[in-house]
Assembly symmetry: D2
């Protein structure tokens, strides 16, 4: 089995390598190829060397290759994992800072920041998919690149590649739920429905007994239900009790928009935005990775976020390979799972997974208290994807206007101009129209 990692020089890669080693009994990997762009050479080599040391220590016989030649890497791949970041952390810092100048939350995945990231990323993944269609048409694309929902939807709408979008939010929500309920993660049964970074746990049981009220009680008492990269604003208990569902940590941006905006502005004034903090964390991480004595995933990686990311990824691959019909929460086309949404949009839902892919477990109609926001965001996503593919400023303006963080079409227009200008090198679809 051959696994190709696009964006192999990412600081997250050691997490993935560890997962492959730990699950060696379930997935029999022969070769891992790390691909990156030439400007990422130094990081790629550090990661490659560490991966080789980790595998050597594990006494497995897995070959590790490093390359800038994407086509060569992809050819005959079984799995292509995408975790690249177009424009790097500098672009992310722009995604976060520029909207703040209009009193708008940036947020790199769900707000205007995620919008800009989608515009940069979708053309790149579609190019990659053309290569997969040509050189590895049976390969599975497992996409981690954010905004993972929109990126995966673009792949499904515009290519024939077999793609699943994956995020570590649902698995972490389950893990934190288990902690709050003081049971093992395996003992918890949870159903998820929604969109990437906008997913709700609609049902939580342990041994068939509804645990949602206990869980909400625990959260209201301050038990942790958050990701490391999100300001930990406390939830309003009465709201959760009324909702009768558990919002994901990113829902804070929608349900506490005022607090989150204030926090982002304060952070930008004081310690820098998240991108700027991450830059520093990454710099330090690569220092650690360089150490030739290091032969395992260092504990410092946990600072970086991304907990359980490898667990989610490798177990998903294992289900495809072993055809075990196990349950995973992933991003796939709706195909009737949520009956208020069209078939062709990508949703994040509980699925059974086997060698033919991920099939959503039917949910039916969402109640209005969930449906209102999900419809709004899905409309934003559909328009963003269309803008990213066509370079249409009209679609882009419509998308931004309907993002809930943006207070008006006038702000949307000014912000769009600024975002396009700041991302010019990455947006040929908007700027080189005569060439396309």
């Amino acid at each position: 089995m051959k696994i190709v990692v696009i964006g192999g020089g990412s600081s997250y890669t050691p997490e993935l390598v560890e997962g492959i080693i730990l699950r060696a009994d379930q997935i029999n990997v022969e070769k891992i190829v790390f691909v990156d762009i030439e400007s990422g050479k130094e990081k790629l080599e550090i990661i490659g060397a560490l991966a080789k040391r980790m595998i050597k220590k594990s006494e497995l016989s897995i070959q590790v290759d490093l390359t800038f030649n994407r086509i060569e890497a992809i050819t005959d791949a079984d799995f292509v994992l995408t975790q690249f970041r177009v424009g790097g952390l500098d672009a992310r810092a722009n995604d976060e800072r520029i909207p703040l100048t209009y009193d708008v939350i940036g947020q790199e995945t769900v707000g205007p920041g995620g919008f800009a990231k989608a515009l940069r990323t979708i053309p790149v993944i579609l190019d990659l998919c053309k290569e997969i269609e040509n050189y590895a048409s049976d390969a599975w694309l497992i996409n981690f690149t954010n905004p993972a929902g929109m990126v995966t939807e673009a792949v499904h709408k515009y290519t024939s590649v077999k793609a699943i979008g994956l995020c570590n939010v649902p698995i972490n929500m389950k893990e934190m739920t288990a902690n709050i309920l003081a049971v093992d993660r395996e003992a918890v049964t949870m159903s998820f429905a929604g969109l990437n970074h906008l997913v709700y746990a609609t049902n939580v049981t342990v041994n068939g007994v509804d645990q949602m009220p206990t869980l909400i009680e625990g959260i209201a008492e301050g038990r942790n239900m958050n990701m490391r990269n999100i300001h930990d604003a406390p939830w309003e208990k009465d709201f959760l009790l009324a909702l009768k569902a558990l919002p994901c940590p990113y829902h804070r941006y929608y349900y506490m928009m005022d607090e989150m905006l204030v926090e982002e502005k304060q952070a930008a004034l004081e310690g820098g935005t998240r991108a700027e903090q991450v830059k520093e964390i990454e710099r330090a991480l690569f220092e650690v990775y360089k150490n030739p004595a290091l032969k395992e995933k260092p504990k410092e990686l946990e600072e970086r976020g991304g907990a359980l990311y490898s667990e989610a990824a490798i177990s998903l691959i294992a289900s495809i390979v072993s055809d075990d019909d196990a349950i995973h929460t992933v991003n796939v086309p709706n195909n009737g799972a949520i009956s208020n949404l069209p078939d062709d949009v990508v949703v994040e839902v509980t699925c059974t997974v086997n060698q033919s892919g991920a099939k959503p477990i039917r949910i039916g109609p969402l109640p209005p208290e969930l449906n209102g926001l999900i419809q709004q965001i899905k409309a934003f996503e559909v328009l963003t994807i269309e803008a990213a593919v066509t370079g249409s400023k009209e679609k882009a303006l419509l998308a931004l206007t309907m993002n809930p963080f943006v207070p008006s079409s006038k702000v949307a227009k000014a912000l769009l101009e600024d975002l396009l200008e700041a991302n010019k090198p990455y947006l040929p679809q908007f700027f080189n129209k005569e060439c396309s």
Copy 2:
């Protein structure tokens, strides 16, 4: 034919009387009954006297009755027109002012103001409908009471009364379109789709030729496309061009939320909110109405807003009576007209009208740029109606949280407490639960 007007003491009533007189050839009214509550006695009598003078001058033989006995009035009615305002302008002033203390637009029909108004109004209209079911089960209910969409939906969901909700926004949009295009209103063909105070003209033609671009050009140049009671913030041209549909004047609250909030706050600081201005206008109007020499609708009434309201109402009644299958834009159950929405929610759409009522002309799916907002607001409406009927604070909190003017569930909760407290006398469903 017997027409009953609930809230007959309204300052708008002379408009209605004029319409009945002008259309006497199409609708043969024998009796008009004006009903009001006892505290509105003085206004009711002023209106009644003016109506009698107007009819006398017209030389028609229409009987005018005034009463506080609603059941007596309704019995054997053919049409029941509802234009009452629970709590009067003082309640409206609260609807507008209280949200501003949280930096939230109040707005008496579409924001938290409209939410509070729905909570006060829906129990009253459902009581009325029980009486109609018992004493005039064949009567048509024509509802003007705002929020007209939610009120009409409550009637359809909880009673068997034949009801149509009516608003003067679509007819005014058509009139202003005709002015901008410099043609007669009859020459303009327009299709409308959406919700009350959230309706879009999706199509505008004159003699079969698409006039949307010309219309948008005109609006961008500053031609009037607004109602008297809405701050006339200018539209962003590129946004309208991208939307390819014409938003209604109330859409400013959504697409220019920042500007509208600032304007409402400034108005509250300076000249008073809209409710406070209207109080003064009404006081002056009733002075004019009192004049025994006045025998027609005075021109001062136009100041009050409500242009073409009578035109819309009387022509709708005429279509029902004459079974003419004419086109009207009204609020009726969706029944598949907009395919992204459930059947049982009320929408504001172009219909054909005959003696069996109003049938929507099928629209199909709304494009995402319209659907996102409409779904969000409809979810807010469905939850508000449920809260109004059941007195559920949970549903009320969910509704307010998802209103786009409300930035967080914490603000929603504090605002809900304040709104419930301020409206206590009108909200038995929330406060007298043990009695219901």
Copy 3:
């Protein structure tokens, strides 16, 4: 020696009693009279009983009297201590909440909250001073009632009473400075200059060596320099280094206005304003005080704020009595101490104290970085005092307009109307003008 405490039923009183007991060697008190208003009877009796138990345990022979008869109490007093709160905590809650509805920090001592408190308090203290002039013309008035600076200035401008205003901020700043520098409080020499709740430490030495840089370094590292009742927003280090002076904890409201406003709004949404929290703390404290087994100041009192308050008060009285020329930082008429300010305004400065009172140690001109803000606030104070005495709405409007938390004269006017209305029972000077 006879000490009279106006507002004797305050929860702070046990602190004071403890101080009198601990310093019995320095001040020989024969009688303490606690005065309060009739509606405070229950609290007064609880405090009185606790005070008697404390004194009994100390084996001192001090007589404790309780009375509602202020004149009787004052007659022949040596010291009159004022710590009353006109309107109680309900009025304070209004002071804090009403301004927030205009996006204005309320703050009970330095903002529009302090403005409203001054309007309520100054007429009461001037009435008291008339009684002192008549019945105890040699008595010293030691005023703790906030806003202590304005209240003390009113006494000096409008009466002949010998008055000193006292606040626990300077002594606490010195205590915290000692902690940061890791020396005893006695080892620290600090000079203070400014206004009440707007005082700067302009000089900090230990054994003659300047410690300001070390102190600022410590604060920038997060060492505590705050009072219990103020949100602990961190100081901007570069700003402190540039200022070369130590602002008091209340300066956060001016130098971090954005953060403090956000925090006050969030607190009002979540757990209640400070007044609402204090109500709960007080309720609990009085439960503790009631316990007949309690014979000393309970440690729970520290929760309430007010640390070192008794230390400051009793040592000040001791200096007057013993004529020791000791150094105290108190509120007295400027009389040339700060040369940029007029003689007759009250300032908070380092003084020598003896039996003729407190004499400021000359400071000279303040540098522009301190003078700008102090002049602005002093102008606000002078106008507020004039409004409080005369009931002039014009002076009140000018005062509020120039408060730095108020963004415009329009907000000032609307806020003034609301504050006057909410405080109507306490503002005869504004509402009963014909009677005065």
Copy 4:
């Protein structure tokens, strides 16, 4: 008599030339020299050619010279007029836009925009003054360059040049007052006191009768009391009545900070900031100036603002030349005129002017309602000047923190970094410290 105009290529220059022609009986100019920098060559030549055509038409024998050689120009000058703009309109656009990204009013003369302009301008004028000291030590410097108060104060504090700062605000206030009172401007007597762009008319009489109440009434009714470049927010009548003085148009930024900020943000979103509008006006003006048939000041110049600027300037020069002791309101050292301010700061006050210069008419102490704001702004100015001269980031940070538009020291620091970075080419005192 030789007049030198530094920044001669300014679009305002034709106004000045017209003034010299119209007052040729009072001031006998032999030579005018227009100086500019080389990058302004085209504009300088257009202006020069127009000036020559204007003078030729007037049949006066005044020589017009154009040069880039400042020293040559200055040598033996009688009057040096400064109206240059360091960094041009691009720098002004930055001054206006950058603060808005922090929700701070920019404003090119009184806010952080004026702060940045002062940092750019003061080093240049001090260089010029060194040349005047050396080559024309008897010349008068008449400074129009904004921020005129700070620039003039820097000249007085750091050079021996005889300098007067001039602004067209007082003369326009008088003109508008005359219009409102319906009398000739000569009939109005007004006293002014304050700072540049922060000046109050403290007294208005016609034939010895106080007209302040009538004037305020007129302004409250909407009569014009504004400059062309300031958003015309209406004054709060009760505030003006309480103030008993007439604020200048720029005071809107302080007394209506909320409205003005909103308006600046809206303008930046829609039509561009004032700088961006002025760029377009200037472009059009120079097209008009080029026309060889044009031989007079074109009426289009009035669009540009600057009304009565030439009238103020030439009449001031005439008073110096003719030694007539006439009354002018100009910027000069305080020297005791306003007794709350130090002697060495520049104030804008009513003066008598003769050949020894401008002598303030004594005002005495300002009342607190004027003094609070003036002290605050003067402190900001003193620190800004010191920062501009020394390149001290500490002084710059203190200055910005105390500007009333800046809500916190954290915003001040971030904004300072951005302003310094954007103005780097013009701020050698901050960036080339090793060279100075």
